[in-house]
């Protein structure tokens, strides 16, 4: 597995950006259904403007999860590699209809730059 701290550090330096702060940040996405099984919520949206978020645990998310942002969109498929996905802007995580659990945790490495 790639060392995320080194990876982000190098990525930002190559683009001429200096990291001022970085941390691991888990984001919990809940799936809430009513008594009839109708799904009320299975997505989560939050702001990461002027920031860079790296998805660290793609392999732990259900196949079919879609993560949308201003700079990058990814759909996790069975053949998705263990690559670093970088997101910025308004990030939305949508769990697939096939996911029947209650919670799902996406782990991000959040990077703020000068």
């Amino acid at each position: 597995m790639i060392n995320i701290e080194d990876y982000a550090e190098r990525q930002m330096r190559r683009r001429g950006m200096e990291i001022t702060y970085a941390r691991m940040l888990p984001v919990v996405v809940r799936r809430i259904a009513d008594n009839n099984g109708q799904v009320l919520v299975n997505s989560m949206e939050f702001d990461a403007y002027n920031q860079y978020w790296y998805l660290v645990n793609a392999y732990e998310l259900p196949v079919g999860t879609r993560i949308t942002s201003d700079t990058h969109v990814t759909l996790l498929e069975t053949h998705t590699n263990d690559t670093m996905e970088e997101f910025s802007g308004k990030i939305k995580i949508e769990l697939p209809a096939s996911f029947t659990g209650n919670v799902c945790q996406a782990l991000f490495y959040q990077v703020l730059v000068k």
Binding site: Q38, M44, E45, N50, E94
Partner: protein, 195 residues
């Protein structure tokens, strides 16, 4: 060089009359907002729908501004496909907010509060819900999980996986009924930022 940026936000309208609020933040390197445009999959959804917009809590477009005035088709040259502000709005990682109301003006057709022959509708009745941040049926796209529950009646978002359609209606509006609006539909707001 690198003088501009098209920042987009996407809204999903799930049912007739829905109000959808969004907020976003402008990129810190861009200091001017020069224009705004909407785009939409099916134009029939636009008529009577309104779009309000403000920057740093100052009003740029009234909530009753008609959305179709901000949509520019492919017959317009790309450089003119936007409503440009004559005086660009200054930005500094600013809060950008908008509120889209589906079929807002249709609701006024039954307005009886003015003279029998018709007349000016008082602004207070046009903007029934004056504020951006209150109102029961507002779907908030701010990062609060509780608000997201209100998106719930949107089954399309779960089955369609983020497309314009949640079924066979995709791309094939019924020509015999041209005013029909297919829900859910997506509205994309493009903001033209500049240095």
């Amino acid at each position: 060089m690198r003088g501009f940026r098209y920042q987009q936000v996407s809204l999903r309208i799930s049912h007739k009359g829905q109000r959808v609020y969004f907020n976003a933040e402008s990129h810190k390197d861009y200091t001017l907002l020069k224009g705004i445009a909407l785009s939409i999959g099916y134009e029939s959804a636009l008529f009577g729908s309104t779009f309000g917009f403000r920057v740093n809590e100052k009003k740029i477009l009234d909530e009753s501004h008609e959305a179709h005035l901000l949509v520019f088709g492919n017959d317009v040259p790309p450089n003119q496909r936007m409503m440009f502000f004559e005086a660009p709005v200054p930005l500094q990682a600013s809060k950008l907010e908008g509120i889209y109301t589906d079929s807002a003006l249709q609701a006024l057709l039954g307005n009886t509060s003015y003279s029998p022959g018709g007349g000016v509708i008082p602004p207070a009745e046009v903007n029934i819900k004056k504020t951006f941040v209150s109102g029961k049926d507002i779907v908030s796209y701010s990062p609060v999980i509780a608000d997201a529950i209100l998106i719930s009646d949107n089954t399309g978002v779960f089955t369609g996986g983020g497309g314009l359609s949640s079924g066979g209606a995709a791309g094939s509006p019924d020509p015999s009924n041209p005013v029909q609006v297919y829900y859910p539909y997506d509205v994309r707001i493009t903001m033209y930022l500049s240095k």
